[in-house]
Symmetry: C2
Subunit: 384 residues, 2 copies
């Protein structure tokens, strides 16, 4: 799990600042600090002069910032730059991705809480699982707080924050607007946990977390959709380098779009024939159960075509560069993946589909946990 691509979101270029909040000196300092960390995070060790060139900040500003970051233990000096021949040897500065840790929590499975202690680069160094035993509502909040405390205690470095990938509709402040499966409604989960744990807690929808993880750690591009396929089907959308929230914070509810015209199966949402009724892992397993390999492939390809038909308008409207499937590869990879891609290609213009990639997630089972870490990285260090 490494970081490879440079993030220069289109929204951040050119005009840059949006005219909706003032620029105070402390904002500029925090922004410049993020710039330096962002560069070191994505590009690796760099000299102070190099940081000055790439960020456009003066050398004095860079030196001051690096001094503060050294004192905080967030960066370290790594010896001199190889191959440099003239002048004073330049000392490389690198981000200490092991200096702090993040606790991530994944609530996307309704039978167990999954948790991990992660490095700043999203690698899980300690994974833990706790059975939910049917807990919901306030009981589940209590269990979650105990589980988080246990994970924080098992961290081997100071924890800079806790990220949570939750089911349901979650707003910008980490309030769970609605998550019927766990009986949460209008629950200020981030605030409650912050209060109990004494650490910054950030909460987002689980599929949205997965999209953040693929974007930050999985090499995902600026315009993409991540479909999480498990017990249900969720989606997280990134557009031009920003996570899509939607008018009511409910972006990504693609699993409950009707895709079966007649005789659709009943869905958990109370309606019939939703994408989830054909694409969820249990649905795919039921549909292929007892079939020989050839028959099973035909069934999976057929679901792939249904998925392609559903995604074609989304890909066309947004000109997405990638569609990423996160879930069991034995169900989602060939032939489902190829059938979906062929269907999208056939149903959209070449200008839309020419550069389209439809692939499996890079991060497997850790995708929601890693996304929870990205929430914390972004909020606490300004790195995305």
């Amino acid at each position: 799990m490494t970081t490879t691509t440079t993030r220069t979101s289109r929204r951040g270029l050119g005009g840059g600042l949006r005219a909706t909040s003032k620029v105070l000196p402390e904002h500029a300092r925090a922004h410049n600090r993020s710039l330096v960390l962002q560069h070191l995070f994505h590009e690796g060790p760099t000299s102070r002069a190099g940081l000055s060139r790439s960020t456009g900040l003066t050398r004095v500003t860079v030196s001051d910032l690096v001094g503060v970051l050294l004192a905080e233990g967030l960066v370290e000096e790594l010896g001199t730059q190889p191959g440099r021949r003239v002048g004073k040897p330049a000392i490389l500065v690198g981000m200490r991705t092991d200096a702090y840790q993040i606790v991530g929590l994944d609530l996307s499975d309704d039978t167990v809480l999954r948790g991990a202690v992660l490095t700043l680069t999203g690698e899980a160094v300690d994974r833990q699982v706790l059975p939910v035993d049917g807990r919901r509502g306030q009981d589940l909040v209590d269990l979650l707080a105990r589980f988080a405390r246990r994970l924080v205690a098992s961290a081997t470095r100071p924890v800079i924050g806790i990220g949570v990938g939750s089911p349901g509709v979650v707003d910008d402040t980490g309030r769970v607007v609605e998550a019927p499966n766990v009986e949460w409604s209008d629950l200020p989960l981030a605030a409650l946990l912050t209060d109990r744990l004494g650490l910054p807690v950030h909460v987002a929808n689980d599929a949205n977390s997965a999209a953040l993880a693929e974007y930050t750690y999985g090499g995902g591009g600026d315009s993409m959709i991540v479909l999480t396929v498990g017990k249900g089907v969720g989606a997280g959308v990134m557009v031009d380098g920003a996570r899509v929230h939607g008018a009511g914070d409910a972006a990504g509810e693609l699993g409950h779009v009707t895709v079966v015209e007649e005789g659709g199966q009943p869905c958990a949402c109370g309606r019939r024939g939703c994408l989830e009724t054909v694409l969820s892992a249990p649905a795919l397993r039921r549909a292929t159960d007892g079939l020989d390999a050839h028959e099973a492939e035909a069934v999976l390809a057929d679901v792939g075509r249904t998925l392609g038909k559903t995604l074609a308008p989304v890909v066309g409207a947004l000109n997405l560069g990638e569609v990423i499937l996160a879930g069991p590869p034995e169900l989602l990879a060939e032939p489902l993946r190829t059938a979906a891609l062929e269907t999208i290609t056939a149903r959209t213009m070449p200008a839309t589909s020419a550069g389209l990639d439809l692939r499996m997630a890079a991060l497997d089972d850790d995708v929601v946990l890693a996304g929870a870490a990205v929430l914390v990285l972004g909020a606490q260090l300004g790195v995305s």
Copy 2:
């Protein structure tokens, strides 16, 4: 055509600055200037003290900025605030939306160029039309430059820039990547026209311009899609307050998504059964030609259902708050509009469809011209 709503895009709040470009003092000045203009543009006349309160800038900074804007003629003093009882009477400052003008050009019709001189609030004060007479390629660029020069000459105030709504795929720099109908390919239209006319020229796709216009002048929300229905079908998407560009600058190609499963009509794009083959104005006229009112309504409702099926995954994935139809109301309003809304509602979760509005565009025929004005407002004054 008035401005009513406050724009506080979600992306501009909270974190605010994105860590991808540095903050220089001149950026902060330009940003603060935009803040003041943005407030006056959307909220109307305000005292210096009021500007200081709403922007968070110090009174000294606000006074300095207002001084510069007064000298430029962009704002004016408007007498004292009514109803104020204590202390020195506060002088209201208002944006002079008539101090400068914008030239807008609409190339979405393939038989005529439409142009207008517009106020800063997007009102067309002078409209002109020029037959294209089959011109394409370089000839069309020449014609466009002459037309723009004529419009600039007819302006009654200094022109701050020229905005162009063009067919085809247009990138961030105003380069037309591809517009087959007019035989433009990889054409740096904004740069060419800027060079010839000596004024800033900004170019965007016509449907994208329409989306900007509905967002800025038409009361459109932060998350919406505008469908332009004329000879063809285009779309512009706003997500969380930002225009969607897409991975290859081709966002909005919803008109060329396949919607007819079998026996679809041939489309201008060379494929069959695209949304455009059933929803374009000529297609709707052909389909209802010679039918009685009752039969025609059934046909239009059927197209509305097809549109709804196509839009449901887009609305679900993005949690759009509005779908806006720009085009002939006699074709697009009832029963097509209602059928589309009912279909989207039936095919998405209540969390998605509960707040959804599907309505006709507020700006009618001027929508692309007004959007061209928004391009200029944003780029030249930082107002959006």
